[in-house]
Every structure is written in C-alpha cells, then in structure tokens.
Symmetry: D2
Subunit: 294 residues, 4 copies
C-alpha cells in the first residue's frame, strides 16, 4: 500500500450500488465457478470448521458443570415415556470465537453506517436485521479457494503483523495465483487465544489492501484480527475495513490444519470451496461448515 | 415388497458392525464421489433448504407478536453505545417441521434401542448424545443426488401412499438409474401441513423397501411420513424404518421446487449434492442447506 | 401541577446521593413497615400478578403452535428412561407486557444517563448491569399498599388521561390517606392492549407529580403509560419520569381486579404488601408475584 | 420411626383426594395464618434465597468466560441507537442447585406415578405439566415458619444423617413447638457441594417420618438430601418420600445463615413466612425468594 492510500480508499461502498447486500460475493462469476469446478477431481472433502461439542444447558443434580463460554448449548427434551423421539433445543451465539462462523456485512458498523453506506438504524432494529444480513448467504457460496500457508509446518510468531508481502510470499510458494472472485484461505498455525503472554498474529491494513487489489470474494482463516491489535491506529482492520468497507464476508475461526496437510500431500493449493450455512435470513452471523473439495 | 418381507427384514443393524454411526453413508465410495463430480459441470447451485426468517424473541413494547412455533428465535444483543458490533443469540429447535434439517440416526428409538441395536440409555443421556448423533455428519457428505419428481408440474393427491412403483415410474421418467450410495431426492409438490382436511401424502413401507434395495445413502424430500399415517400398522415408516433401522439419514422439510425447475430446464435429474451442516457433534438433528450443483 | 413545574423538577436524582440504587424505596422506614403490619389481621392473601402459562418451546411433530409473544417459554427436559425427575429450561423476557414484572431503575435511560445521573455506559455493559439493577430488590420490599380504584365496578374510558385529581378523588373514596413510603396500587379496569381502536388510558405528568408530592415508594397498576401516548410531548411519563427520574420502581402489568373485589368486600383499601421477586441481581426487570395481605 | 413403619406408610396419597395438587399446603388453615401473623411485629424481613448473579450468555469478543453451570443466563438486548430501554432475555434452569427454588410435587415420579397416584404420562407431556405443577403455588403461600438450627454457630459434620432426634433436639433449643401447617426451616451450616472429600449431610427416612408426624406444610433448608446418599436403600428420602409421597413442597438451596443470626439476636425462632414465586403455572419448579418477617 502506498502512502497515498487511506482507509477511505479501501472501500467498495457504492461499487455495486446503494442497495447491494452481496459485497465481494459479486466477484464470483460463471468463470470463477468454472475455474472452481476444475479443481474438484476426486471428491475428497476437507472441512474448514472446528468441531463443536455442545455444552449441556442442564444444571442441578443431572449435569456436570459446563465449560466456559460455550458457543452452543443443548437441552435434551422430554418426549414422553417411552420417548417417541430424541430431540433438543439449542442456544447458539454465532459470534463466539470458538465457533467457525460466517460474518454478515452488517456485523460491524462504521460511524453509524453499515455496508454500503446505509444508516445502522435503518439496517438493524431491535427485532431483526433488514439489510446486510445472512440473507446474502442463503443460497450458499461456491467459488475457488486458495490456501496461503504463512508458516508451513510451523506457526507465525506471536503478534506477527501480516502484510501484503507475507501473502505474496505464500502465494509464490503455492504456485497458484489468486484470481478475482477466489476465496482467500489463510493459515497462520494458531488457535484463538486471549492470552496476553501469547498474543495472536493478525492482519494489517496493508494486507487488507492486498485483498482489495486482488478482489478476494471471501476470507477464511485460523487467524484474523490480532488480540491485542498489531496497529493501535486501526485496531481490527479485517473486520473494520475488510468486512465493513470492502463488504468481504469473513469466516471467523476456520480450522485449516487438516486442509494444509491435504494441500501439501497433493501438492496443490486450490480447490472447490462450498459454503452453505443454514438458510437463515436476517442474522448477523451464522455457523458454517465450509467444504474444500479436491 | 413381497409378503415374506417384514419390517425386521428392512434393517441394516449389524451390516457395518456394532459400533457404526454412519449407517447408509457407508455406501458412499470413491466411485460414488467420482460419479457425483461428473454431474458438476457449470457450478450452478440450487439450495434444497427452506429460507428461514427468525422470529424475534423480544416481547414487550419493542416487538410485534411472533408467528407460531418459530424454528429459530433471535434476540439482538446490546453491545454498547454506540454498538461495537451487531450480534444475536439464536434459540433453535432443529426438528421443527418448518426448518430443513438433517436427522441423526439416534433421533428415533425402536423398542428402547437405537441404530445399530444399542440401548437408548447408553446412547442418550440427559446431558447429551453419545452414539448415533450428528457427529456422523461433522465432515459433511458429498455424493450424487437424483431427483425423482412424483408429480411433475403438479402435486400428489392428498394422503397418497407412495410405493416403490411410484418411485420406479418417476425414475423411468428421469432416464437416470439410482445407484448404491446415491442420495434420493423426492418431490411430491407439498408443503408441511397438519390440516386434517388436506392430509399429506407419505412413504409406505413398500417405498422404504425400495430404498433399501437400491441402497440409498441419504433421503431428502418435500414429503416424508404422512400425517395422518397412510398405514396405521406402520405409522411413520420413513422415520421408524428408514432412519432407525436402515440407518439412512433423513433431510426433513427439504424444498425442491426450485430444484425440479432446474432439472426440467436442463433435462437432467442427477447432480452433485453437498450436505454440510454446522460441524456440531452430539446432537439429534441439525439445520442444513443442501446444495445441488450442476 | 402548576405551570412552573417542569419535568426537570420531577426528579429525585441526588436526593439520596450519587451512589444510590434504591430510589423511592428509601422512603420505606420502620414506621412505614409498622403501619403496614397493622393492616395484616387475618392472613388473607391476594396476588397482584397475572397467572402465566408458559408456551412450549418445542416445535416439530411434538407440539401445537405457541401463542404469539410468550413471556415465558418452557422446554421439558429429558432426564433418562425412566425419568429420574421432571425438569425444564425456561426462557423469560421480563419486560413482556403480559408478565407482571418489576422494573429496575436502570430500565429507562434519559439522555444517556440513568438514575441518579450516572452515565448509561457505566451502568450497563454488554455482559450485564452494574448500577440500578434488580439488585435493589434482592432483599424484597415490605410496605403498606393502598388501592386507588379509578373506576369501581367499571373501567376508565379509552385513552383517558389520568391526573392528580383522579387520584385525589379515588383516595377520597377509600377513606385512607396515602402516606410517604406507601405503595400506590392503581386500578383502571384494563388489560394491556395495543388495539388502536381501543386505546389504553394512562398516567399524565400531572399524576406523576402527585406521586412525587406524596412520596410513593412503589407503583403497581393494571394501567401505566398509555398506548398511544396521552401527551405526545411526554410520551411515557410513568417510565420516563416516574421510574427514571423519581427512581420509583414500577410493577408493570399488575392484575388488581381480585384485589379490588376483596377491598370492596372488606371495606378497606390498605394492606400489607410484600414484593419478593427471585433474588436475581444485575437484571433490568424481573417477574414478581406481589402479595397483598389483609 | 418404629420398625413397622415402611416408606409406603409415609404417604399422603389420597389424603386430600385423587385430584389434589396442594399436598401438605392443605394443612395451612386460617388458624395457621393467624398464628403466623402474630409473629410479624416490626416488619423486619430476612430473605431465605441465595443471591444470584446471572452469567452473561454472550460469547465472542464481547464477554469474559461464564462460570460453570449458571442457573440464570442473561443476554442484554439491543433496543436501538440510542437505546430506548435496557432489557434482557433470561435463560433459567430452575432446578440448578445454586438457585433457591420451590419444587413442585410433580418434580419426582415414583414408579411411573406422581402425587397423589396419578400416572406420570397423564401429568406431564412433552409440551407441559398438567398436574402437580407450580400452579399450586400461583397464589403464594403464607404460613408460620420455625427455624431448627441443627448446628448453632457451627455446621453439621460431613455426611451426618439427620434423624428425628436431631430435629427434636433443635426444636427443644428454640422453645417453640412446630404445629401442623407450619413451615420447617432447617439450618445445617452447609453450602451445596459435590466434593466427595466433603460429603454433605442430609435427611434420613426417620427425619421424613418426623415431618409427616408433625404435618409440616413446606420444607426449606440449606441441607436436604445428602450427596452421596446417607442410606443407599433410600437414596433421596426428602425428594422421593417427602416431596413425592407426602406431597410436601420443598425449597431447595435455601440460604439460612442470615435468618439464624436474626433468630439468635431476637431470641425467637418463629416468624411469618411468605413464599411468592413468579405466578408461573405448569412448571416443575420455580425460583423463589422466601421472606421471613419478624
């Protein structure tokens, strides 16, 4: 990123009109999909989602203590004696960092507005979301995914600020060039951590500019924004700029170690990527199980 | 089905061992997957899931009344003034008939046992499910899907009992033969209804026998078991036999009208089918957004 | 209220210090309690709470549709085969107008502040309430209650604006004078309604001034603020002034017809009133079952 | 209890008819209430409920981890920018041992039946409770309470089996005789614990027989049934016999240290006891804030 580029330059607000809700998903064309399908040759599938074991919601004499901050809680239901079926109620907090989820564009407001420049108060009401919600994902997303492994067989150093140069270097190693509309999948070798002694690496504004220049359609990674921020001036560039201004949907908390192993084994870092969260409209985020198909 | 076949004959208990949790998903082989991929040529995608608009959980002066029996409820969360992000809590009842969901094998017990013959009390505890849960779907399912449209451009008559002959006739119309490991997608032209004046059609035991003979891996349909039962002797054959005894996962409440239209338009009724619900283990069912890829 | 009195004059902010969380509950003294106890002579009890039948949270084949906007939802829990106990999970929206509940002082902010002048952002965080919450009610409230029946054997006209003169007239009929620290219980003969053809009566700013002059400790009534407002300049005087500025806890949605009948039968309109919601701290409201003891 | 008394002898099934839902609350008469009121002299109130701080339901970047097994979870709600009011959704598990709650008679089945001999399957359905629920408590309970402090200024030894003789000795110390219809409040000096190295004391069948002979209307205590059982033959006598067979409502998890201190200070161990949980019908248990009034 040159000095003349500002955060304000990193914006797709208006690029696809004032009513748009798809953001960078607009970049996925028939050509993108054809390119994606060419990567699917054997049908071998790798999930990019963390497995989630729900915590029991039941207390009292019936249950052991639940672990802290469960993303999904489960209450097994009584269905008669003998039970006619086994069922449950689930309580889900989609943005829990332990849950692989897809952020809707409305998730992060900027100065009282949400993508692509709509007043927050018009887009979100106490009873639901009217613009920029998961409705954009209701039909699913199919595109080509490319894995950029920033630390093969290793992990990034703590608090490492990921730049465009890091992404260039990883891309060079893969031998594949990320084309417009492709999904960018990043591996840093980390699990989510708030441990101040072990600060996570994270994206810089420079990396977001790289994504904008390459016209990435979707981001997925085991790292994202750093905790604490790598640049206190722009505390969460992936969310505040990538999601909110570029309109680039984010898959938070992806699990990519298995994917990296398969890519290394096969010697290829591009794949068909399908993203099909529950067809839930009007939410700010939704759990997802992205599928990399080789 | 001949007279000599009984319900007990329609069972896969033990076919893949006493510890199995995959059921008919075992039928999906490398060959199945290769066959499936051959159907994906352009990347056009059709969802088989009903769109769900969550009901607001908020009452009081803030919200209008919610519709009856919402499958997903949403409470928008306070995240400060001004809000640092928009988020929600979701309350989900996966087996709600208005929600397209994937039934786990443990969902329906038979005489105190669940697939493949395990005591229910071992498989399900008050705090969760230990056997036959959605854990089997955690990695996603990729196979070939074949649509059998039982009433093209129309709908089945009320209370119609679907037999193997009906499935044969529809298959003949498609020009594709359902092979072992394929997913069976059925269109009857119905939406879920409890209206006694408008009773739903549904599968007979004879149709389940057909699925067993063809070794269907997964069932999806806009019809399933009839309400009220078409045969009072075997009230819910798709669930009690197909799911519980054959170990065949069911996608309840699929929406297949759009799929049928695309199949008719393209003149082909087979497609790549990916099923990737949230990677939630230990549940009896989970919302899903199946993707038919052409 | 004379013209010289403004809303700002109707405030107790600072009256009991900058740290206060009790508001007008400070008005309940040993003398108030002794006066209250003198009204309890036989132990006959009348509840001021609406009975609530929870709505089942279960959907699917198991449950009929739930009624709209339930204040309490119930999911019956599986506790084994045979069940070792019957239990449930409850989902509660305390401020639902169908639920008799006690509003905490923090419930309504005024210009970014809450009683007694604390910044909202200090008092409420995304993870809970730090000031002005139901913690103030944790020990329960015991005081004398006085019923002012504004429409004996009848109901107030639709959209009637209740004034101090209305309260004076009703008090005159009872033959009891409301003393500082007493709870004011109001009957208007209404159930909560949003029906625009049947607009609820409600309190005016003049009535709130009356409560301030009498030093009411707690308000309970089957009417409260009108829908739509009786004065568009001050849309919700009971909540925006009575609760937020006077610091007077409100019991919303009280049911007082049974109480009025007993008062008429006994010929006395004062009683011991105990208010003991679940000892839940840190909430903005809580369901309550006030007890009038004669 | 003599040898000739069996568990079956300790039953009130049928004592108040086959349709009864009140159980030992029938023992509270006008005379009981008058006796109770005579104990209320100054209006000093002591709560018998544990204070509950709700756990935040929010995960993600917004919240710290929740503590294990919270009895009440809270999600603060978005109500606009600026917020028009502060509100929440609460998720409550009434039978959590950390929550002071009132057990309904239906809570514990005995051999497929619930008090007073009704088939469980008639009393409880997947969508709610039809008999023996908290409906019995909807109007509140007012009676005299008597504190029996089993270990003044101390606590009972671990795993101590409480007998009728223990209760007799404590009653002798108080100088008050427990009369029919009174509530029995027991202090053992314990908090709920599952720590096997620190096993809780608990009631024996002999103590339950004592309660039956004295016709106790309600039980409240900081101890109840022992974990692990003090008698493996009758693992939970207070619940399995006292609640289920005597029909005696139980207040689980009461906090009585403050009460014991006031009783000792005043030199009297009887008081007016009011029990007024939210007027929630059809539940198996409900949080409660019992008030001892002196």
């Amino acid at each position: 990123m040159t000095d003349s580029e500002s955060i304000d330059g990193l914006s797709n607000w208006g690029r696809w009109g004032a009513e748009d809700e798809l953001g960078t998903l607009n970049l996925i064309t028939d050509e993108t999909r054809a390119r994606a399908l060419r990567e699917a040759r054997t049908g071998r599938v790798v999930s990019l989602a963390r497995p989630i074991d729900p915590a029991s919601m039941m207390g009292g004499p019936f249950a052991p203590p639940t672990p802290p901050s469960p993303p999904v809680q489960q209450a097994m239901l009584y269905t008669g004696v003998p039970p006619m079926g086994m069922a449950e109620v689930l309580v889900v907090t989609p943005h829990n960092p332990g849950l692989t989820h897809l952020d809707a564009l409305v998730h992060i407001p900027v100065d009282g507005q949400v993508y692509p420049g709509r007043p927050l108060t018009d887009a979100v009401t106490p009873t639901g979301v009217l613009h920029g919600s998961t409705t954009a994902f209701a039909d699913g997303v199919l595109t080509r995914g490319v894995l950029l492994d920033l630390a093969p067989d290793d992990r990034l150093p703590p608090a490492h600020p990921v730049t465009g140069a890091d992404l260039d270097a990883a891309e060079h190693r893969t031998g594949v060039r990320l084309e417009p509309g492709d999904a960018l999948v990043v591996r840093g070798g980390w699990e989510f951590s708030r441990d101040p002694a072990n600060p996570m690496p994270g994206m810089t504004l420079d990396a977001i500019a790289w994504m904008r220049h390459r016209d990435v359609s979707v981001y997925a990674g085991d790292i994202g924004d750093a905790h604490p921020p790598v640049d206190s001036q722009v505390p969460m560039p992936l969310h505040l700029v990538g999601l909110a201004r570029l309109g680039m949907p984010l898959i938070d908390g992806a699990e990519v170690d298995a994917l990296a192993a398969v890519c290394a084994e096969l010697g290829r870092y591009a794949f068909l990527l399908t993203i099909a969260p529950p067809r839930l409209r009007g939410a700010t985020g939704v759990p997802v199980n992205p599928q990399a198909i080789f």
